[in-house]
Symmetry: C2
Subunit: 329 residues, 2 copies
DNA sequence: ACTTAGCACTTGAATAAAAAAAGTGCTAAG
DNA sequence: CTTAGCACTTTTTTTATTCAAGTGCTAAGT
């Protein structure tokens, strides 16, 4: 258990460091609380022994450790209410009644990315939670058509395919068949159902069944198992601790392109705002991910904000709370 | 007019510098052609006076200037045929008969981006060249639906919209009306046609005409005026002259996100492979853009490869030639 | 009229030494 | 328990020194 004064000092250090990434010395702190720098040094030493602070070298000022940030987030941070300007910018997006929910979310996360200089992410629900609701085909010309897949969660995707020497008639039949036989199936099981339930039957009804089967097989294999939307990909370049370290940047960029890694963002089961600091996340030991699930009707997903470990925790949590609230009603 | 020997020297310098970005001295060159380093120095001095070479400081080796690259591309470069490995990788993509053309293009440009470490871009044809061919609506639930827009060039886009208290009936009527009245219109004129030709009539047929009009108005306003696809966004980080210069990187990344800038890539009217070196392009004075138009049936667009000024011109031009050829048949 | 050996000269990069700045830990006194 | 004071560390900055690479020019050679 930390003393009142220790809490105060830790908090000052974290907040100062978040403002500007330079190690914090005892002098500055001593001015802020009412006691000598020597006293502060003693307390800092103790906080370091507890693993909450670190030095960059023997005689440097202190920097929050991962555990220090954790402690700050869990115990010291107080949520201030959103500033009027931030609020206004977001309200402008939320007020737009014509936009579909998913567009409202991406647009507002774009706004957040711009105002915070962090990267933001929306993840739709996973493929096993999306049931095939409807399949539709729109012919484009003799050989090309667009296949549209709609899931029960409102995830829509379209793909263009080529089908040579197949009549529209036949395609329509096939689509109807698929709609009848396997709508309601989780997206990631559609492919196997296609093989075991549609393939054996399709031959009886449709002439060019091989070609058609192959085409649809590919469409569903290619179907994105999860909608992922990244805003402000390059914002990390604005963060001083990254902009001086190309390898870090490369790593973060690569991780962001890697769908598998991004999926790990969604692994949460409960419903609160979660903060994953440094090694607590799968992206990079120098970033923090703050995320939360949302649910509106049967549309659901996760939104996340990715920034440096020294991100503005209070402000970001406030923004996410506001987002969640507004999405859910 | 350069002498034979000057051509030789310039070419050696450019090719050497492309291989490795370190200024080239007279000694290396003198070994490659049969004469003393002093002679080479004289020639280099002349080439510098002509603006084809530059020094990084008074006593450094030479580096090709922008004009130097230009001269190299125009006069010295000889197209070698593609190496077998590159060819194989691309053929694997082109052989896939099921893929729609646009997918073949993006996939193969992904492959190129990976093997060259350059960024690649596909640009579809512009909105004024795309005519609205077909509009279709798929209901998702009571208030949400997906609108699908197909253009005559095979560009397909879908958007989700919200429509409260409007019956599916009404929506279908509106869509039919729009299809009848304005299909065949260039996409960027659709909005005004909606206003002057559809709006006045729609009231007679459809009850909730205001809401519907607004919804479709937005759909078309939001319609991407040009399909843009970027592969290997971060490849610049692999190029030594960029990875040591964050500001350059930021600039290039920002330009790539800027649709207006990208459009300038397409400004060409003729049909050949074009090389825009440094200030000749709008992206950045330190990159080169190599691009070409393609056309297959009524699908057309531009593909471009963006790399450092010292990109492997011959190899890239070879790749683009191959791409173009394969796309067009 | 070219080519080239030779050499003085320039510049950047690498290394070393010295001085300045920031901050710590500890001791001893209040 | 607090704090003034000071020795000590470490980084950063500055200055100087040397080394390596490469140039331009001159004068001699073909």
């Amino acid at each position: 258990m930390l003393s009142e004064r220790q809490n105060k000092i830790l908090r000052l250090i974290v907040e100062r460091y978040i403002k500007e990434p330079i190690p914090v010395g005892s002098k500055v702190i001593s001015k802020a609380i009412n006691c000598s720098s020597a006293t502060v040094r003693n307390e800092m030493g103790e906080l370091e022994r507890l693993g909450l602070l670190e030095k960059t070298h023997t005689s440097s000022g202190r920097v929050p450790s991962e555990a220090g940030y954790r402690y700050y987030v869990d115990n010291l941070m107080e949520l201030k209410k959103m500033n009027a300007e931030d609020m206004l910018k977001l309200q402008r997006v939320f007020k737009n009644q014509q936009l579909a929910l998913s567009d409202v979310i991406t647009k507002s996360l774009e706004v957040i990315s711009d105002m915070m200089n962090y990267t933001t992410v929306v993840l739709g629900s996973k493929s096993h939670e999306n049931l095939l609701k409807h399949l539709e085909v729109i012919p484009i010309d003799d050989t090309n058509m667009t296949v549209i897949i709609v899931t029960d969660k409102g995830h829509v995707e379209h793909k263009n395919i080529r089908l040579e020497d197949v009549s529209l008639e036949e395609v329509k039949k096939t689509v109807a068949l698929i709609n009848n036989l396997i709508s309601g199936t989780p997206i990631d099981e559609v492919v196997s159902k296609l093989e075991y339930e549609v393939k054996p039957i399709i031959g009886n009804y449709v002439k060019q069944h091989e070609k058609l089967y192959n085409a649809f097989y590919h469409v569903f294999t290619d179907f994105t198992n999860q909608e992922v939307n990244i805003m402000g990909r390059h914002k990390m370049l604005e963060q001083p601790e990254f902009s001086s370290n190309i390898d870090k940047i490369k790593n973060v960029f690569n991780k962001l392109e890697d769908k598998e890694i991004l999926k790990s963002i969604e692994e949460d089961d409960d419903n609160n705002i979660k903060v994953y600091i440094g090694n607590e996340n799968n992206i990079d030991s120098d970033v923090t991910v703050i995320q939360t699930k949302y649910k509106n009707g049967n549309e659901e997903g996760t939104i996340a904000i990715i920034g440096p470990k020294r991100m503005e925790y209070d402000r970001v949590v406030g923004l996410l709370e506001y987002m969640k609230e507004n999405i859910e009603r």
